[in-house]
């Protein structure tokens, strides 16, 4: 393995390949920063360009993009509360409050440290478990998928103990939105009100742009002023304290990276869920969970460590079975096929060196993107000082162009606008947006998993107890529920 890794590193270190990697990183950062665009779009645009390239160059460029979008996406999440990419949405929760307090540079410093660390951790884990890739992927069948989806929704919806009911209501709305469109299990189109646009369901990216970016900009326009509440308090030199804070919270980094790698490896669940779960678990494990959302640096460190670690995890099912772990991986799969590689059982035998090359490219890209982020943070953080009446129209216009550019569907713009208003109302009436998003993502997985389990088990509920994986998942759900409910019950008992 070490030999092949060395060989892959030598391949990657040619001038031409490094140039492609650098190009990928720049493209990734730009596509990451603009809400709506993102790694999937960047890779889809790149796909036809890689035709004439050598495999290692194509991988370097793809790896550069995938490694860098996370950094770009989180920068806009922190500065504008508009996640540039879906997995960065979790970074908004504490990153944006930090920016409002004038600590944007510190938050970006934390991102620039946590994301390459998470990336490295993910790569190390990937190298260790690569021989077990098949076994890991095979652990998850329909019952396990159902339970995992329930676990994800429950963990996130109940993570705010002050606001349990509102969290559950938001998750319910998210589930309703998730069930719109074509039903893969029984066929038939549901809740589309006769609109072709809704056949494929409610798309995630326009929803996120609406719920976070648009909602924030609506709020900013109404309120006036700048993102940072007190412009005098804005410190552009907080980067170092951000780096230090991340290193101090090394346990959060490890937990986040582990969550990212594990969840990333489960096909169809993907990176957004990974970062949200990393955030929620860190919040729950903290002594003062209620202070999350007001600008805790751990709230940035946790999802960011998961954000880059997830790519390594997502490679497992993509390479071992040709089943993408995330939307980006689906497009990356196309690049593999284009270059004559058939993902599947033989992949780890025939193309090990190329895989190592890609893994190294991902790692270099994460580090390179962070360096660029650190070098530019001074100027970036100044965005929080721009007046709302200038910032809001620009951000809204750029976001909507990004949303439209994905599929060139006008409906996506309308959807982003509608959800922007919904998001704004949710902020005003203190409903958490996170449970809605996570339910929107996982609703389909939950439904499919449940229906298929019922078909496989011929209607017998005991199918959910058949494997050690599903029992573990059940226990996790119970733990997660009791973590939130038991303290409330105890409080009621003592007060009565």
């Amino acid at each position: 393995m070490i030999e092949l890794l060395g060989q892959a590193a030598t391949d990657l270190l040619s001038l031409q390949t490094i140039l492609f990697l650098f190009l990928g990183v720049i493209v990734g950062l730009v596509f990451g920063v603009i809400p709506g665009l993102g790694g999937t779009t960047a890779l889809a645009l790149l796909l036809p360009l890689t035709f004439g390239m050598q495999v290692i160059d194509a991988f370097a460029m793809a790896g550069g993009i995938m490694g860098a979008v996370a950094m770009g996406g989180s920068i806009s999440a922190i500065l504008l509360n508009a996640p540039g990419t879906a997995p960065s949405a979790a970074t908004c929760l504490d990153g944006y409050p930090l920016a409002q307090q004038g600590r944007a540079a510190e938050a970006i410093g934390a991102v620039a440290t946590a994301s390459p660390l998470g990336g490295l951790f993910g790569v190390l884990t990937l190298l260790l478990v690569l021989p077990l890739a098949r076994e890991i992927v095979l652990l998850f069948g329909p019952p396990e998928f159902f339970l995992l989806a329930v676990f994800g929704i429950v963990t996130v919806a109940m993570s705010d103990s002050q606001n349990l009911l509102r969290g559950l209501i938001a998750a319910g709305v998210g589930l309703m939105l998730a069930f719109v469109g074509y039903d893969d299990v029984h066929g038939g189109v549901r809740f589309t009100f006769g609109s072709n646009y809704l056949w494929d369901g409610i798309p995630l990216i326009p929803s996120l742009v609406g719920l976070f970016g648009m909602a924030e900009m609506i709020g900013l326009s109404i309120k006036g002023g700048t993102v940072a509440a007190d412009t005098a308090a804005v410190r552009l030199d907080g980067v170092v304290s951000g780096v230090r804070a991340t290193l101090r919270h090394w346990k959060v980094v490890i937990r986040g990276s582990l969550t990212g790698t594990l969840i990333g490896a489960i096909p169809g669940v993907g990176g957004t869920v990974a970062t949200f779960i990393a955030y929620s678990t860190t919040k729950k494990a903290d002594r003062d969970p209620d202070s999350f959302g007001t600008g805790r640096i751990e709230g940035v460190v946790a999802p960011e460590s998961a954000n880059n670690a997830k790519d390594s995890g997502a490679l497992l099912p993509t390479l071992a079975f040709g089943i993408p772990g995330s939307a980006e991986m689906a497009v990356f799969l196309g690049i593999l096929v284009l270059h004559g590689m058939q993902p599947g059982p033989a992949m780890f035998v025939d193309h090990v060196q190329d895989i190592y090359g890609l893994i190294l490219a991902l790692t270099f890209a994460a580090v390179l993107a962070s360096l660029i982020g650190l070098l530019t943070v001074r100027w970036l953080a100044a965005i929080t000082l721009v007046k709302g009446q200038i910032l809001a129209p620009v951000v809204i216009a750029v976001s909507l162009v990004g949303v439209y550019a994905i599929n060139l569907r006008p409906g996506d713009i309308v959807l982003a606008a509608i959800l922007g208003v919904l998001g704004h109302l949710m902020i005003r009436f203190d409903f958490p947006r996170l449970p809605l998003v996570i339910a929107l993502i996982l609703g389909e997985t939950a439904e499919r998993g449940f229906q298929q389990s019922m078909m496989i088990g011929q209607g017998d509920w005991r199918i959910f107890l058949h494997s050690p994986t599903s029992i573990t998942m059940l226990l996790l759900i119970i733990m997660s529920l009791s973590w939130s409910i038991v303290p409330i019950l105890r409080k009621r008992m003592t007060s009565s």
């Binding site: 999937t40 889809a44 796909l47 036809p48 035709f51 992927v137 095979l138 069948g141 329909p142 469109g181 074509y182 039903d183 893969d184 299990v185 029984h186 066929g187 038939g188 189109v189 072709n196 056949w199 494929d200 096909p267 169809g268 079975f321 040709g322 089943i323 993408p324 689906a330 497009v331 990356f332 799969l333 196309g334 096929v337 284009l338 004559g340 058939q342 599947g344 059982p345 033989a346 599929n407 060139l408 499919r448 229906q451 298929q452 078909m455 496989i456």
Partner: protein, 316 residues
Amino acid sequence: MSFGTSRLNACLLLCLLVACSRSGEYPRDDITIIIPYNPGGGFDTFVRALARSLENHLPEGIHVVAKNSPGAGGRRGANDVFRARPDGYTIGAFNLPGVLVPELQKLPIGYKLSEVSWLATIGSDPYVYSVKGDSELVSIDDVKGLDRTIFYGATGPGSTAYIATNIFNEVLGIPYEVVTGYKGSSSYVLGLIRGDFDAALVPMSTARPYIKSGDIRALAIVGAKSDDPEVADAYALGEPKLAEIKVVRMIGGPPRLPEDIRAILETALLAALNDQDFKDWLQSTGNVAQPTGANDTAAMVAKMSEFYEDFEEFLD
């Protein structure tokens, strides 16, 4: 020459010019090819590679832009093509019988395949009756001999794999149940290896690497002749009509596409499919193309419609 005739001549010349440019001008602009699936899949990659090859057989500077329009099992993409202006600047890829079946079921789909201006067939993908690699079953007779309901995995109802499973079992009289909802053929191959169900009909292009690695075992093949004596084909099973079960990939344009434009596109597509660079790419990726022209494609659509009409009751 009087002023009148010169004006008449000018008019005639103008008409002639317009007429010439009408046929001579196409294509002046980039051509969009609609792919009815998400970017990154096997079909998507194939059509993107074809689009690139197609550019080499069109006038200099004309680009072929691939546009993904995923949704509802390929129906939305078909709809987009059908509704496009018949000017030759929008064409699309079709996957049959995937988009044919909802039409036979008289679902509200918004397109009629018989009216599509067919341009070319890319090729077809036969189905492999597969079981887990370590299964005790080695032939279809073994499956019949189990004398119990056989569980299959497939994509959604109305999908090609689902219908193929229904027809196969109905024709051979095997009692069956289908676990639906897997996202694509790679997903249900994974389900088969994991043991979610007994067997599955898997497109050859997906099954090949797993058969090679021993993860799954092929018991029969439909939609093509078998070249392995261990693996029965439709004829060996005694049901030749099962040979019609296969996925066929075609390129078509909106209805009422002018004949001259249709001919230009057909010629360019066939040249692109037979291009040596494209063939090299096919070989390096294990893909197969069996290109045929517009008339054969239209005939194939009609033939498939007839075949599936016979099995209408098993379509959903």
